[in-house]
Subunit: 345 residues, 2 copies
């Protein structure tokens, strides 16, 4: 489902100012949002097997995918920290700062595309980006394959994960394995999901008030579906330009992907799942307080001032979106051989 | 058990040139080495409880113990990579290079003291070092405590781990919790340990030959006990100074701890457990091939040239020291609050 600005405004008008009862809130919520499923989705063209998931987990934690041997996927997408790094923008090779805040890996399989600007169509395409980015893992596909082939323990693992491939250790297969592992990093069973399944008591009165405001004010126009976000692209600053530190002028967002004027400052709406765990907020990572982020959204996106009481309720609702965090057994990675490339620092 | 150089040379003379049969090799090995126990030792003054171990695990993986929010204990002592970082010397805050190779955390509880120069008497004392080192995690005890106290989820965890303390979130308790977790990171059940327990077939003929050489040449004078090392301090260069890149002249080793002339270039003998997993070797981390390290030990420590065939056998023996790696479920760390200090970069 892709939303564009025009439909966004239309729905805003439709939902504005409606008064609902308690049952109406639940049924409206059930039409707008979906619980995180108990099991990961089946990926097209990349079927999951236990062997592929296990390999993908290993590669997700594998710092030797970076030229320094220091940075793994988990460095910026820490599975124990809500799938993020608690940095404004990520820190990579040589302590360089990346241009944008690291989006959470949790539930990312439910986004319509990956990265803030949606430039990767899926998690496999995404996984190849940071490995090669000079400010992130600073490696090359050739060197990654050379490294993985030099580590004797990887060949049997790739062979089991990709049994039809004659030469299974490839950059593409690395990405595919990481994708199937990342697809398992979902967080079902939040209190809000329990509510969506019909358990009204799962939310306290204040949290239900927050939910009501979330829908009535129009937040759910861009933040809906399974991920309460992640399903469409929207201008950051529909109604009013955010402050220049929050929306740096030089980052034109999706414009860089589509080269279309209307896509200037357009970004994928982020998922609000586990939002308490993932400060700081926005692609710039300049906003640390969730309440501040809520107010900025009000002025920038909806053109309203959200008062303290409303903010309080909206934040209370947002805190019900913490799901059950993934249980990951730390992988034991196979050792170097004498021919494994040395770290570049 | 503390060995000094004089006793080292004496034992070298005692064991030199003895011819042994197969039974003699096993009984000699059983007198010299001990298997890694199945369970961690009881720590004096720091009893382990499940709650304290769980907290310690969380803190071991907690990047917010570093001022940047980027570096945890696990960054340099990666439990999935033999407890090390596969760097010559560790990389820390601001991409600075530390002065020495990161020793493995695995089985470190069995060392007589911690760090290459033994300056920390136990793992709790050790844990405080890197947190404060400007080239490592670059933090202060005050800021660590402020951070941990600002994260609401930590108070109940510290309270459960230290039920007698009125104000349980302290720098000392952080270190104690990390210590009890690290003490669980032991690697029993190596093939060599099976051999030590009487299973002669656990080692192939070539590996037994390597073991025989290891004892006959005198390697086991410094590398014995549970950790096959880690039990004493020895001059690096008893017989001949190693090349200046392998033993940099500016690192005077234990001399900096004791200020005693005899301790110049003295280091704790490292454990050889899981040695295949922990390149590069020596405190300088300048030697990547295990076979090269073996030859350097021959000339520098024993004053002999170890030929290719002997090196081959010694390496074959050393590869039998890989134990069962620890199974660690990745901890889910509690989220920031609005008052949590922001990362310093």
């Amino acid at each position: 489902m892709k939303w564009k600005i025009s439909s966004c405004i239309m729905v805003l008008m439709l939902v504005g100012g409606v008064a609902w009862g308690n049952d109406d809130i639940m049924s409206q919520a059930q039409m707008t949002f979906k619980p995180v499923p108990a099991k990961p989705p089946v990926l097209k063209n990349n079927p999951a097997t236990p062997q592929k998931i296990e390999l993908g987990k290993m590669l997700f934690f594998e710092p030797r995918l970076s030229s320094s041997n220091l940075i793994s996927c988990n460095t910026c997408h820490n599975v124990g920290l809500g799938g993020v790094d608690i940095q404004e923008t990520s820190t990579g090779h040589g302590w360089q700062k990346g241009p944008r805040n690291a989006p959470t890996v949790l539930n990312s399989v439910y986004n319509l595309a990956q990265f803030w600007d949606g430039r990767a169509e899926d998690l496999a395409a995404q996984a190849k980006g940071p490995v090669q980015a000079s400010v992130e893992m600073h490696n090359t596909p050739e060197r990654v394959v050379e490294t993985l082939k030099s580590i004797p323990g990887y060949l049997p693992l790739f062979t089991k994960a990709f049994p039809r491939d004659k030469d299974p250790i490839t950059f593409d297969n690395m990405a595919k394995a990481i994708e199937v592992f990342e697809a398992t990093l979902i967080t079902p069973d939040s209190r809000f999901d329990s509510y969506l399944k019909g358990n009204r008591k799962a939310l306290a009165a204040k949290e239900r008030e927050g939910l009501k405001l979330f829908m009535a004010k129009g937040c759910s126009v861009c933040h809906n579906g399974i991920n309460i976000g992640g399903a469409g692209y929207f201008t950051f600053g529909v109604k009013e330009n955010p402050a220049a530190n929050v929306r740096p002028t030089e980052d034109l967002g999706r414009f860089k992907v589509t080269n279309t004027a209307a896509d200037k400052y357009v970004f994928k709406s982020p998922s609000l799942r586990n939002i308490e765990l993932t400060p700081p907020y926005f692609h710039s990572g300049k906003v640390w307080k969730l309440s501040d982020a809520v107010k900025i959204m009000g002025t920038a996106q909806i053109g309203i001032s959200i008062n303290e009481d409303e903010t309080d309720k909206l934040v209370a609702f947002l805190l019900t979106l913490n799901g059950k965090q993934p249980k990951v057994v730390y992988p034991i990675m196979p050792p170097n051989s004498d021919s494994t490339p040395k770290p570049l620092l």
